[in-house]
């Protein structure tokens, strides 16, 4: 899949200009100017969807198995009885859990894949993600502290790599999953080079 232009930033600010808090004091025009143009956001490797489905499948097996165990051996236990009343048909917990996970397996990877995009611009790294809560992070290269690549067993099997970017702020790291291994290494090297260059300059 090639690059895809996604208009993250429509030209001029579309919303109403902010109202002056004290009209007499501040009577300038809207303080927000338009952005230079659209940002080209790249999608992840499409195979990452299959990887996510597999990972969700593994979790589904664990959870459904757990539910089945509770239903088979938990009958008569006071704690289980309190949470799972007898009035419900047998097998509903296992069935429900399986159905839920199948739904997750089918829906979530595609949705997540569609939302998760990234762009390497001249000065900064853009990452867009989040299915329900949309999140767009912009990380200037000069603020990068560490760039890691990560590969779990499943990822290794697929030949995919995860790129993790850290700044000095706690908990804010950019994450780009589903990069082809070679591409991730190249990206890491490139980010490292750009970042150290920027950090020296600024």
């Amino acid at each position: 899949m090639g690059d895809e232009a996604v208009q993250v930033n429509p030209g001029p600010a579309s919303g109403e200009p902010p109202l002056p808090l004290e009209p007499s004091v501040r009577s300038e025009a809207a303080p927000v100017r338009s952005e230079p143009g659209p940002v080209l956001l790249k999608p992840l490797d499409p195979r990452v969807r299959i990887l996510w489905r597999l990972a969700a499948g593994l979790r589904a097996v664990v959870w459904t198995g757990g539910a089945a165990l509770v239903e088979t051996y938990g009958r008569g236990q006071p704690l289980v009885e309190a949470i799972l009343p007898d009035t419900l048909p047998p097998g509903w917990l296992t069935g429900g859990m399986a159905a839920l996970w199948i739904l997750v397996m089918v829906l979530v990877p595609s949705l997540r894949y569609r939302r998760w995009r990234y762009a390497l611009r001249t000065d900064d790294l853009w990452i867009r993600r989040g299915i329900l809560v949309h999140r767009i992070s912009v990380i200037p290269y000069s603020r990068l502290q560490f760039v890691d690549t990560r590969q779990g067993p499943l990822e290794r099997w697929f030949g995919l790599t995860e790129l993790v970017v850290h700044t000095a702020a706690p908990g804010t790291s950019g994450l780009i999953p589903g990069l082809r291994a070679g591409e991730a290494e190249a990206l890491r090297e490139r980010l490292a080079r750009v970042a150290s260059g920027e950090a020296d300059g600024a």
Binding site: N9, L21, V32, R33, L132, S137, S142, R143, F146, V147
Partner: protein
């Protein structure tokens, strides 16, 4: 007073700007090759700071200081196991001896680019803190420290949630020298012009303690609180959490039978309490807890902030405070990630505010409350002026309000709260539910429409309060951006205004939940190098388009600010670049 006869040929007041970086190499030339006029006056004699060849160790009295913990443990053990079990005491004695040996084996020293602490009995652990990573140096002297003539030194560095380098107790002179040396971050370049009283009891800031003829007078402090002002700070501080916790412990102690001789046994009280409706008991209890917590917060605040003085020496902020436990906290201006002005409800009514700083590595939990406070309480205008000055903002622009949709969102929430209360209220209040006996007797259940009436009444009451809160919450929101700085405000009852120098920006995030997107809103976050417990500066519920435009402006502002900083020779000090931590 240490360099008694030190030549003071340098200008009396260093300009606020740091010396440009071109001069750094000169500073590194061994001092013996330099004519004395070029020596900074405040340079501590190198031979008095511990070096790799002459490593520093903690004085013997530290053992007594550490002994208090074992005393507490021993007392606890005696209470639990009874005082006649000797073996636990033996274990404690052994632990104490081990700890003592550990402390005696602790060594610390300075190298040209780091501060090193080596400790451990069997396994020697060496912690090397790069000077460039040091964020703040805080000194503390509790009552026991003062009795023993010791000072605790805490070196806060970037990364890691905990205090990076702690010396439980060193001589006050050594603590003062370490502080100056480490805050300067470059060997022998202490920005604090006044090298400092060794900070002994009573020395404080008194001019009389300094030889006035050899040293120019200290610049006047940015903040100096009189006793009455500290009392005001105490009266308006709301540390309800601590108070409630303490009250709970107290109640539990009473329940366990402590103080039983004082007010009679709990058995005496039970009939009296049972004769009251339990709503009344709840109210009485609530008032007691509130009064107690207010008293506790007052006492803690007054003790903690007594004699509060804030100095700006060079580009280093220095806070001195505390009546029983004395603090001397030092942080360099370029280590401050953000400045917060907080106005709690009491203070807002009186036109007062307090100022705090966000410093990486200085966790709230590990250093106790108040370490990051620059102004415990002061007039609103003074608070904002101080915050702007510390953030490097020449003047604060007025804040823009958030769009009407943000208000609509809050009103919607108030409406939902009203409906939920209307639905749940009657069921909870009905005598059949057994609850709220005091109130439910007053309600018109016997009337046919009583249930509906109660539902509507509760719903309206809750709705009205929620609506007022929603309005307050919306009015509390605001944002401003101007070139190199941004300011965000939020808070319904307590308003918090955060000023961020954009050179501290680590990234920009625009986040939107489905509820926000429905109304075309988004939240903009500026992650900074903050302690994990603090929150990032954010603008809640901006217009989506404004958020996008602001994002670009903030990034541009950050780039500009860093470039200007580089020109002035003060960047590279922001944690991102300064640490030299970049490891590809």
């Amino acid at each position: 007073m240490e360099p008694e006869g030190a030549p003071s040929a340098a200008p009396e007041h260093l300009p606020p700007e740091r010396v440009p970086p071109e001069q750094h190499p000169t500073d590194r030339i061994p001092t013996e090759h330099l004519p004395t006029e070029h020596l900074p006056t405040d340079r501590p004699p190198a031979d008095r700071l511990p070096t790799d060849d002459a490593r520093g160790r903690l004085p013997w009295s530290v053992l007594l200081l550490e002994g208090r913990r074992f005393l507490v443990g021993l007392l606890g053990l005696a209470l639990v196991a009874g005082p006649y079990r000797w073996w636990p005491m033996g274990v404690f004695a052994a632990l104490f001896v081990m700890r003592g040996v550990q402390l005696r084996l602790l060594r610390y020293w300075l190298t040209p680019d780091s501060f090193v602490i080596e400790r451990g009995l069997l396994f020697r652990r060496r912690r090397v803190i790069s000077r460039a990573r040091i964020q703040a140096v805080d000194l503390e002297r509790g009552l026991l420290h003062r009795a023993l003539g010791l000072t605790e030194v805490r070196v806060e560095a970037l990364g890691g949630g905990d205090t990076e380098g702690a010396l439980p107790g060193v001589e006050p002179e050594m603590a003062a020298r370490l502080r100056e040396e480490l805050v300067a971050r470059e060997p022998g370049r202490s920005p604090a012009r006044e090298p400092g009283q060794p900070w002994q009891d009573g020395a404080g800031e008194e001019e009389a303690a300094a030889p006035a003829d050899t040293h120019p007078p200290d610049p006047p402090p940015l903040v100096r609180l009189a006793g009455a002002e500290v009392v005001v700070a105490g009266l308006t501080e709301s540390r309800l959490g601590a108070g409630v916790a303490a009250a709970w412990v107290g109640l539990e102690a009473v329940r366990q039978g402590a103080f039983s001789g004082w007010f009679g046994t709990p058995e005496d009280w039970v009939p009296i309490l049972e004769s009251l409706p339990w709503m009344a008991v709840l109210v009485i209890l609530g008032v007691l807890v509130l009064l107690f917590s207010l008293l506790l917060s007052f006492v803690l605040t007054v003790l903690g902030y007594w004699g509060f003085t804030l100095h700006l020496r060079g580009d280093v902020l220095e806070v001195e405070r505390g009546l029983l436990t004395q603090h001397r906290d030092t942080v360099s201006l370029d280590r401050i990630q953000a400045v917060r002005v907080e106005e709690n409800p009491f203070r807002r009514l009186m036109g007062l505010a307090s100022v705090k700083v966000v410093v990486a590595g200085r966790a709230r939990s590990s250093t106790g409350s108040g370490t990051n406070v620059l102004l415990p309480v002061g007039p609103r205008a003074q608070a904002f002026e101080l915050a702007a000055r510390v953030a490097g903002w020449t003047h604060l622009p007025p804040l823009h309000p958030m769009p009407a949709q943000a208000r609509a969102r809050r009103r919607m929430r108030a409406g939902i709260a009203a409906v939920v209360a209307g639905l749940a209220g009657p069921t909870l209040l009905h005598p059949a539910a057994g609850g709220m006996a005091g109130v439910s007797a007053l309600l018109p259940w016997n009337w046919s429409g009583g249930m509906l009436l109660v539902a509507v009444g509760v719903g309206l009451g809750v709705g009205l309060v929620a609506l007022l809160m929603a309005e307050g919450a919306w009015r509390g929101l605001g944002w401003a951006e101007e070139g190199s700085h941004a300011a965000f405000r939020e808070g319904t009852l307590e308003r918090r205004t955060t000023l961020v120098p954009l050179s501290r920006l680590q990234s920009v995030e625009v986040v939107s939940t489905p509820f926000q997107r429905r109304r075309g809103l988004a939240t903009l976050l500026i992650p900074v190098a903050r302690p994990a417990l603090e929150s990032d500066p954010r603008a809640l519920d901006l217009d989506e388009g404004v958020a996008r435009g602001l994002r670009i402006r903030l990034l541009e502002g950050a780039r500009q600010a860093r470039r200007e900083g580089a020109d002035r020779g003060t960047s590279g000090l922001s944690p991102g670049a300064a640490g030299g931590m970049f490891i590809p």
